[in-house]
Symmetry: C2
Subunit: 523 residues, 2 copies
């Protein structure tokens, strides 16, 4: 397929006079979007919203399923282009991410088709009450056009047709995607698949636009465009906070759902450490180095209480470090940032640093998996040790006591995940630690590892700030749709003017709370 | 009961060195809270949270029910004190608000006891899948200490033990209440009732504190105290926006749920106008003047298409204006603000103003119910006509056509409510108007009036900005509890470490989504 490197507004490429930025991979350079592109994309999205908000769930589902089919039809080219742009391996990594991406699209198609996500509630009139009670019915309705900012580390699943786009379209919201500048060709291929699906299903073409930009003012202009009603973002704390601030400072503030990563602490409790020190070390290291550490859920801190088990844990990690090979990161700036990060940690007094001896000979874009060890006092004195260094490294903290373990937990910022390794007896003996972690994290894991985020109804991929800007929201799993909707109540509406979800008959067959009882029946 | 005018921190009065402010009513003056009071209240709330978050729903319910009993035990003194401070009439108005307040407390007790509000979702492990699927379970957990800012116009129901406090306590969150300075004695009586209920049910005393302040820096300090995790507010746009900005600018931003009122537009469609012009005029006027217009849902704009029906509508309204008597508003500043508001509207070219002829002789704190009439062109030229003037006035807009009616609707800001009067044929013929209003409002009403907000599961008392700072939230009805909670997922937790809501047995009997199916059963 011929790639253009152009911005796509409402289904068609729109040339730019603002110059181009250069990229690696199949596109030598890409056109920078202008404020006019932003304006055109948002206006088209607003017009599309007027029609799309009324499109029934099954037709939204058909659109999402068609997008999945069009993506599958891209075949190996999609994988090859993404590999050329991101250096992510095709086997397993990109193949798996493709499966997840089409799986997500079909999952949200199911959510849209089922329709129960609208949380319908009906309280019927009681004319005989004093005062008479009116008939009140409420459901969730779509917020309006959503701006989606793609992540660099998931060129499919958190990008142009990723979870944010899928959940917004399922909710009834058009999307304007700001592509990540590290994979514009992948983004264009995906955008074309989305556009084809929109055409084939007869949906309004303003439902989707794709912007390319490396400029902060374009990102801020998109967030501050009056027609945009919500923002989804995955990326760094600095960028996410800037977009959150831009959204909050609007004349009409909007929700900005920024998922900004975390250190995903792992706590190994005493009995588990005694019984499985080496196995846990191996699992931890696999999780740290998976995808060259480029996951939001990469475990960047591990803590345990000192003793023979701890020594075995460290000894096994050191062996694994020595066997590790450098990996190529997504793009040079991310690799530099990783290097700056680990140099900072290495310089802290009381921190020991371990890397494979081959490190010196790694090529420029290679990142060497790195183990840092320290004690709890040093950890508690230096905030940097508890902050994310995006890439394949982890800080192992030797604690003198359970109290120090709890102090380490208490010192942490908000997290996407926190992990415990322990026997049932360990967990019972550490209820205070669990209570602390409940307050810190969006997901707690027992005897597993945080990488690998299941896409399902019960998944919560979020957490207190700075893991995200909105701890009430998830960017993975079916509940992600709730980010793009708000309730609307209808009082004393005649049946014919109510949406089908709220009509007596419940022809759409959704779960509803009727006079306090859950039911899928009509009445 | 002897009233002190003091701040109550964690159950006990704490003296202040920051001076006193004077009030009307039984307290001559009230102690100003200091930053130390804020700090002490928030610290106590944080300590209480550590215990209260683990308190099962039925015990939270018992606390809320005890608060309701203690409030009832205040008897007529509560009503008399509130009347002395707010000038709201005891018969019907305050008596009704008391019933609503204890009703709300018992409603949220029911929500806490039932427990299904936690939106539990379980996806069981599938060890045979490739890759194996872990066991994932999620539910909502309380956010932490909540700051509640009382409203002036509801001294009971949106005040110290009002809906914000009831829903926060039901969710598992301690509260720090900033009393409204216009009714400190009522607030102290209520606070003492809450404190007695906390003592009698053996709950931690840090669960509740009461602050008195007239100073912006104290309000901002409360919102920015790191221990505060969410804010509930009811009041003016200026104050609500300032608190929202303070919450968003924190190092760790928090949700600020500010409900800031609106003009609650009412649209009378042609057939309804022909058939019921006088009856609708009477209902509108009753709604405008109810409680001297001091409701967030007071209808401040009404629009209809010109014709004989419109003339009858205006004629009846003019008669009602002439029969109207001035009413005493909550406090002098609110009355002055109303007067400034209507003087501003009266000065607009193309606006006709109608007040009862007795107006000149009204006493100083009296507000004269006021009718403004204008045409759509004037309305569309002057933003002020579409902004809230808190008090008993309404702007009736004569439209030349359906298109002008829709233009008026489109020009409006976000609203708590929008009302349509129409026959089924009217509604069918005005689907575009309904679509516009869906985008503008939190609640749509047919053939009724917006004042009178039913407290139930399906109520949505919220709406797009500037009606609120968060269109996804409601401050009335059972869904208000969702403001103070966030999801937490548990992955591969042993049964014994899971909260009861997520254990296989479902001993608490809540509704859960288990492997995609809603059920109240265990497994």
């Amino acid at each position: 397929m011929t790639l253009t490197g152009m911005n796509f507004i409402a289904g068609a490429p729109l040339p730019s006079q603002a110059g181009r930025f250069s990229t690696t991979g199949p596109l030598a350079s890409v056109e920078e979007a202008t404020l006019e592109h932003v304006q055109a994309a948002v206006s088209a999205a607003e017009r599309a919203f007027a029609a799309y908000r009324r499109v029934p769930g099954p037709q939204r589902a058909a659109l999402l399923e068609q997008i999945a089919l069009e993506i599958e039809a891209l075949g190996d080219e999609w994988l090859a282009v993404a590999h050329a742009e991101t250096a992510l391996p095709i086997a397993e990594r990109l193949t798996g991410e493709r499966a997840r991406t089409v799986g997500q699209l079909r999952l949200f198609a199911g959510v849209a088709r089922d329709g129960s996500w609208v949380d319908a509630r009906i309280d019927r009139a009681r004319p005989d009450r004093t005062p008479p009670r009116p008939d009140i019915r409420r459901m969730l309705i779509p917020l309006g056009p959503v701006a989606v900012f793609s992540a660099s580390n998931f060129p499919f699943a958190f990008s142009v047709a990723g979870g944010d786009t899928a959940s917004a379209l399922a909710a009834g919201c058009p999307v304007v995607v700001k592509a990540h500048p590290a994979h514009p060709a992948t983004s264009e291929l995906t955008a074309r698949a989305v556009i084809r699906a929109i055409e084939k299903t007869g949906m309004p073409n303003g439902l989707f636009s794709l912007l390319h930009s490396t400029r902060n003012e374009i990102a801020v202009a998109l967030v501050q465009a009056p027609g945009i009603r919500a923002v989804g973002f995955t990326g760094s704390l600095i960028a996410g906070r800037a977009l959150f601030d831009a959204g909050s400072a609007r004349a009409e503030p909007i929700p900005v759902y920024a998922e900004m990563g975390s250190v995903n602490p792992l706590f190994v409790l005493p009995d588990a450490l005694d019984a499985r020190a080496e196995v846990i070390a191996e699992g931890l290291w696999r999780s740290v180095t998976l995808g060259v550490g480029q996951f939001c859920t990469c475990p960047g801190v591990a803590a345990a209480i000192d003793g023979p088990g701890f020594d075995r844990f460290i000894a096994r990690l050191k062996q694994l470090v020595n066997d590790a090979r450098p990996g190529t990161m997504l793009y040079p700036r991310i690799q530099q940032s990783f290097e700056n990060g680990w140099r900072g940690l290495r310089a802290i007094d009381g921190v020991q640093t371990f890397q494979a001896e081959t490190t010196g000979s790694a090529d420029d874009s290679g990142a060497s998996p790195t183990l840092f060890t320290t004690d709890a006092r040093t950890f508690l004195r230096h905030d940097a040790l508890g902050h994310e260094v995006f890439g394949p490294s982890t800080v192992v903290v030797r604690c003198a006591s359970r109290e120090e373990l709890e102090q380490v937990a208490r010192s942490l910022d908000g997290q996407l995940t926190a992990t415990l390794h322990g026997t049932a007896a360990d967990l019972a003996a550490h209820d205070e630690l669990i209570a602390i972690l409940q307050d810190k994290a969006g997901r707690l894991i027992v005897n597993g590892f945080p990488t690998g985020v299941e896409v399902c109804a019960s998944m919560h991929h979020g957490g207190p700030y700075p893991a995200t800007t909105d701890a009430r929201s998830t960017s993975v799993g079916t509940a992600a749709i709730l980010r793009f909707a708000r309730p609307l109540a209808y009082q004393d509406f005649p049946q014919s003017s109510l949406p089908p979800e709220l009509q007596d008959a419940n022809a759409v067959g959704i779960w509803r709370l009727v006079d306090g009882e859950m039911s899928r029946d009509g009445f």
